[in-house]
Symmetry: C2
Subunit: 551 residues, 2 copies
């Protein structure tokens, strides 16, 4: 009897980011990607969100390795946290391998991790399973899909992809490789759902050549192009357009500089001689000879572009007549800060070109017609849409059914759903614990942590601390309660309000008939009296933190 293939999504299904998926057949588990998610605005004080890997930790001895499809943070960012607790080999191709190396070094983990550089088509043995990578087109060099040979048949994963016949970097989508896998029969297919609601085709990267050429050729002054640090092909396009128009290019901002250096070293970036210059070398050139490449398209507060927008950059400020190109589309959730950044740049006299008023970006994910083509080519028995919010997964599963997947074989899974597949059929098994883990300084929280709940309460109306000092023998107050607050009332208002509140609390405590010094009672009483008093006076509800001192 053939074994069961278990599909265990640990991240990326029903959300944006932190992609991570496990395949389990018999005694072997293979993990695909280990990404982070950036915290949403209501995850107060959280630095990063990583997947919950307790399923893997309970099966440590079965885990054969982690395959990384490409170097984006939402596919690699959790590696340091995962490898810390689950030492297992990591396999990656080209640039992804390079970027992961940098990341592990930063976390002091490089020497402990078995990080393997592999080539597309090179077999990777993972227990009784065998995997290989194949190239796809996406918004970073060396993006890969992968196949895993299992006793049940071939598992095919598109990775993040678009079908680009004229990419700027690497070869076009190689249909012959895809066809050769398809001929062997695809038992299960995973495919990128990010743009499953978008009709038509995603345009080729190449369309931006013309657009950037026009913009850079016709700009009266400096041109600043902001894009993702990993979007190396976009940087190449800017370098080419700049060279054509006799401009010099400087790269500004830590992450962009690091990525460009790595890309130069690995040969992904090939500037014409003398085009790429340090900022110090070109800052005094006439504006129409200058191009700056930087990050900040998502409104990241520490990025160079946002600092420039806020007149807070050490070296660069907007000169009226600058043309600023936001060569990216907004990642959902960032719209407000991006819009603020654009406005601040406009205010200083820049002309800002962005996705609403110019053709300055094409993204790296397949739209409906490409997804359909991929499904038609691969003709999988089972289909699981990955990488997207829930509605994108639903839309993609519907496309799969249109393309001939049996409706009972297209599974919309969410993180924590376990899918069990045999040649006879598939079913969802028990759910496993699989939520977010929040990284906050050195600590990992679960989302339901009281810490986060308290931060929410604190952020709404601030905090009032009441120090109640009682005699340990008589239980009587030995002095009026001491009240301090933060985030509740301005100093002017607070003084009066808190001394009134102190008196109210004193009266309430002094009027007790019995005189228990029991802390639970005092604390509850102080909370109750102050909450009521302050709400009546202000219609605000600060958190009340009582502290009892017995002397």
């Amino acid at each position: 009897m053939a074994p069961t293939l278990r599909v265990v999504p640990l991240g990326g299904l029903g959300e944006i980011g932190k992609n991570m998926l496990a395949l389990e057949v018999g005694e072997d588990i293979v993990v695909i990607d280990a990404g982070v998610m950036f915290p949403e605005e209501d995850m107060l004080g959280v630095d990063l969100v990583i997947p919950d890997i307790s399923y893997l930790l309970q099966r440590k001895e079965k885990v054969r390795g982690i395959l990384i499809t490409h170097g984006h943070e939402d596919h690699t960012g959790a590696l340091p946290y995962v490898l810390n607790r689950l030492p297992t080999p990591v396999y990656a191709v080209g640039l992804a391998h390079g970027l992961i190396g940098l990341k592990l070094k930063e976390h002091g983990l490089l020497s402990q991790v078995r990080l393997h550089k592999v080539e597309p088509g090179q077999p990777v043995r993972l227990g009784r399973l065998k995997a290989e990578f194949f190239p796809v087109c996406h918004s970073i060099p060396d993006a890969m899909g992968l196949v895993v040979e299992t006793p049940l048949g071939l598992v095919f994963h598109t990775g993040d992809f678009k079908i680009d016949h004229t990419p700027v970097h690497g070869g076009p989508t190689d249909f012959s490789i895809l066809a050769s896998y398809a001929r062997r029969g695809i038992f299960l297919m995973f495919s990128d759902s990010t743009y499953a609601e978008t009709p038509g085709y995603t345009p080729s990267e190449r369309v931006l050549n013309e657009s950037l050429d026009h913009i850079i050729g016709e700009a009266p002054g400096r041109v600043m192009v902001a894009t993702f640090a990993s979007l190396i092909s976009r940087v190449q396009q800017v370098l080419d357009a700049a060279a054509k128009h006799k401009r010099k290019v400087a790269v500004v901002g830590r992450s962009m500089v690091e990525n460009v250096q790595l890309a130069l070293k690995m040969g992904y970036l090939k500037p014409k001689h003398g085009v790429l210059q340090p900022w110090a070398q070109i800052r005094n050139l006439p504006p129409h000879q200058v191009v700056i490449v930087t990050t900040g398209t998502q409104g990241e507060p520490t990025s160079a572009l946002v600092r420039i927008a806020n007149r807070d950059h050490r070296e660069i400020e907007v000169i009226p007549g600058d043309t600023i190109v936001m060569s990216a589309s907004p990642i959902p959730g960032n719209e407000t800060v991006i819009s603020r950044t654009i406005d601040n740049l406009c205010r200083q006299g820049a002309r800002v070109l962005y996705h609403r008023n110019a053709l300055v970006h094409v993204h790296g994910h397949a739209a409906q017609e490409e997804l359909k083509l991929m499904l038609r080519l691969m003709r999988p028995k089972y289909f699981v849409p990955v990488h997207g919010e829930y509605r994108h997964l639903v839309a993609h599963a519907q496309l799969a059914v249109q393309m001939g997947v049996a409706p009972e074989n297209a599974f919309v899974l969410e993180n924590g759903d376990v899918l069990e597949l045999t040649p006879e059929g598939g079913r969802k098994g028990e759910r496993i614990p699989c939520g977010h883990i929040y990284v906050d300084g050195l600590r990992l929280w679960e989302p339901e942590s009281v810490v986060l709940r308290d931060r929410h309460l604190l952020s709404r109306d601030g905090v009032v601390v009441a120090v109640v000092t009682v005699d340990k023998n008589t239980g009587r107050l030995v002095r009026p309660p001491e009240l301090v607050s933060s985030g509740f009332a301005d100093p002017h208002e607070a003084q009066d309000l808190l001394s009134q509140a102190s008196r109210a609390l004193q009266e309430a405590l002094d009027s007790r008939r019995a005189i228990p010094t029991e802390w639970g009672y005092l604390s509850a009483k102080a909370k109750e009296v102050l909450e009521e008093f302050l709400y009546q006076k202000t219609r605000r509800r600060p958190m009340v933190l009582p502290v009892a001192i017995t002397v």
Copy 2:
């Protein structure tokens, strides 16, 4: 010599929402609109944002009245706060008048305010100025533009508008009225800039008739349509489509019910007999006979739709097979919560139609071709784009110049800029104080308030309170410092960490050579020691609040 016309934008220029504008000629000030803005995510604990009207308060005796163009919150919501401090007559047409009445009643202000209902074309005397309203098409009934006669000539304000030849409610845009104003010569024109970056025309409301007819006609089960409570014409469209397909409609949710009741009473809503029913009457009908109209398109946490999405509504839950229509586009800043709402509805088996996957909404603002047409018709001498973020104002000013306004006569203003116009020319005068005022419970804050800054700090890593009890004579600690925290560490971690921190603080304080009991010193020392200790241990930076008790 002709007097100077001063344009004083108090809100709505360079931001979304809280539209408010003052015109000042000699001894007379006329105010146009008094809107609110909904707080952004980083305005912690803030209920509403209203304009700063200190300019008007300093000139109370000149203010002749407030003209309200239409009933949306971003044009009316600040009225209770403004009128409280600046008693002046309010003039509004039809539905706006009705909605303002409700609002003032809610705030207990109705009896004190001189709220005048006026008709389009009816002259309103405001000192030496004279105004009249004229109808425009927008996403609420009785939307108005207005003209103000001044000694310098006619001031023309489009209000929020689109050019709709086939509106669902009210008449089409009346070009003959516009032409008659234009013939008198427009000294100054204000025009809606919301969609000044969008090429082409905004489609007519009418296009949704067909779309809603299809959706409601073909849905296998219930249909839930969510839209803005004030978008009465959309409700009418749903009622008509429901009647055609023999469905009954129930209105759910407080604000939608209130708006529909008012619209019925005032005759704006004309349901076919028997179509509109209380929810209790139709809840047991077969699903394909039911339509629900409600709010929640912006992900508002207390709206019926969001409660339903979160399985938290008292009466309604999703039935698989429901079709849910989000008949609105996202207001910038709300994208994340909207997306979460859609996903939660999908998860429960609903089919969700929204602006990305279906034609379910057209908005109420003019796009570029309409803006150009309006400019061409009115041929103003001076032009000031209003209602939009900074980049929209810039784009609109560029359109005006293309349409023949002299470049030196098109002014991009922001809140607080004062524009001084004479027949000879215009110039920006001194800036006036004019930011946001935050409404928080009963209190109004300025954005730079320490209260808001503290809430931010509290929300990041929580708070640690340190109670230091010293002998008033010796200055020695009489007991170990008492530490409590909130939002900083989970109970498990906190116990150990805080007792270590207490010891560290005790050591630091005990080792003082001199023994000052001076509070400033103790407080600074306690802060310094604890901040350093806690950061070293956790890489987090809670707010440290020291309290000294001398006994």
